[in-house]
């Protein structure tokens, strides 16, 4: 455990001294927290919603509103659209950190002396993985809490704000978020083994954000309904996917492979 802790601290000391990484890691969460807050600022207390009836709400969403009236249900509908936006943070942030962490070790040739110590491959991978996942999860949670606090201030109906703490949001933020982070790290480890520039690794990894973007668009267009059942299925699929991806990441991250093929 001490070795993993030492690796995490070392990674943070290294990665966060890189201004580009620091910018990438902080800019996205700030934007993703700011966009819904600005939207709420202009819609949260708007009288325009008073005229909206339940019939105006996408029918598949209505059951999620419970006893809310038409205006509040519409507001909750808007608020919910941002769940998937928050899901992008735990995917992108660890990809940036892991790409710089792993490709950086390749380019500066620091892995060989590290591998010559009694640290195990699994300890290295867990350390590097956690060093990428922890900031991603914390920024996601932090962003969500700021969003919830902002919603509390900007939305007049406490019932709508209370819905932000429904199981749907809790599962999405506190379970799906970390699972998405793990996926991001595993993908980055695999991609980083094939490239020599962290920016290339980051760009290739970014392709894997597209499914989340697709879900966001699907939800906005009404094709997909993000409800508890959907989020639970998403968590289950991610759990299986994470296990498979982590297995392959471990396979790639072998001492021999790193020294003889990581060029």
């Amino acid at each position: 455990m001490d070795k993993i802790k030492a690796i995490i601290i070392k990674e943070w000391r290294e990665v966060f001294k890189n201004k580009l990484v620091l910018f990438s890691v902080s800019f996205l969460p700030l934007m993703i927290t700011a966009i819904p807050l600005v939207t709420l600022y202009y819609t949260g207390r708007s009288d325009d919603f008073a005229a909206i009836s339940i019939a105006d709400i996408p029918p598949q969403f209505v059951p999620l509103c419970g006893g809310l009236n038409g205006g509040d249900c519409m507001l909750y509908y808007i608020v919910t659209q941002f769940i998937l936006l928050f899901m992008m943070v735990p995917v992108i942030v660890p990809m940036t950190i892991a790409s710089y962490s792993i490709v950086g070790e390749k380019t500066t040739r620091t892995l060989e002396p590290l591998l010559a110590t009694p640290v195990t491959t699994l300890q290295i991978l867990i350390g590097k993985g956690l060093a990428a996942v922890i900031p991603a999860v914390l920024t996601t949670w932090g962003g969500y809490l700021i969003y919830a606090a902002g919603a509390h201030l900007m939305v007049s109906n406490p019932e709508v704000v209370g819905k932000l703490f429904d199981p749907l949001w809790m599962i999405a933020i506190f379970l799906v978020g970390p699972l998405l982070s793990l996926m991001g790290v595993s993908i980055s480890v695999m991609i980083s083994s094939r490239v020599n520039d962290p920016r290339v690794a980051e760009q290739i990894s970014a392709v894997f954000v597209l499914p989340v973007v697709g879900l966001f668009i699907g939800q906005m267009s009404g094709l997909i309904l993000i409800n508890e059942e959907f989020i639970l299925w998403m968590a289950a699929v991610l759990f299986v996917l994470d296990s498979i991806l982590f297995y392959f990441a471990i396979q790639i991250f072998q001492r021999e492979t790193i020294l003889s093929r990581w060029k």
Binding site: K3, A6, K17, T110, E112, P113, P118
Partner: protein, 314 residues
Amino acid sequence: MIENNPVIVTENLTRSFGELTAVNQLSLSIQKGEVFGLLGPNGAGKTTTVRMLAALLAPTGGKATVAGFRVGEQDQEIRRKIGLLPEAPGLYDALSAEQNLAFFGAMHDMENVSSQIRRYLDLLGLWKRRFEPVGTFSKGMRQKLAIARALLHEPEVLFLDEPTSGLDPQASRLVREFIIELKEEGRTIIICTHNLEEADRLCDRVAVVSGHLLALDEPGELRRKIFGRKVVFHLTEAKLELVNILEKFKGVSEIEIVDNKILAAVENPETQNPILIRELVENGAEVQFVGELKRRLEDVYLELMGAVEGNDHG
């Protein structure tokens, strides 16, 4: 050097990468406290050999033990017993010298890491710059820090891959002097180098490799084996008749005149030189002084490599 106390033993150690055999049936026995040089051209398998012995690469054939542990089977134990200075120092530039060493101390589960960091940074003259990021260090300072990192956990065996490569003469000298200090402490050190003068100065024994083992001995012995022992007679005037006189002696051959010197291969200079000098003086030669022609390890190396190339082309 203590004999018959091997720290490293390899038997037909082989490593292939696909169809390429980087190390072919290498058999060595390196004694405790020995400074052992691995010499050879680029691609000769020196680094691959070190990587196998450092439990970084598994052999594809043969076997080896390091500090009593089997390579490929007890790798974690081996990694506790060895220190490695790779070809590139591989330091974390954003971290300070102290943070770099503390990190590697943690990787070795060290408890007394602070005192060890102080010890080696002091020894290598880096203590005052311990808080500075390594990225600001000169090449020599980086190399010294990488050596400190390799020594931090007091390993039984130290592998140094090109320890003075790319360093200026002053920094090279500092590193060499430090290696001599380590040698005096009785550490077992394996040096991979292209710098043959350095190997000559530092190593108790050297192995010349080119995929496989070409020669293995003490540098002086290798010189004798390959070039014999040449005696140089410095005279006031070297005449042809003096050469004719020396030719009559058994065990004296390859006699030649170079300026005012007579060079001769003498089988046993210790017993033959007094006789030869007397004979030369009795025949009118004025002997200024007599010495042995010192061949450099580089000559031995080039001779061996020339033979390999000759075989390859032949």
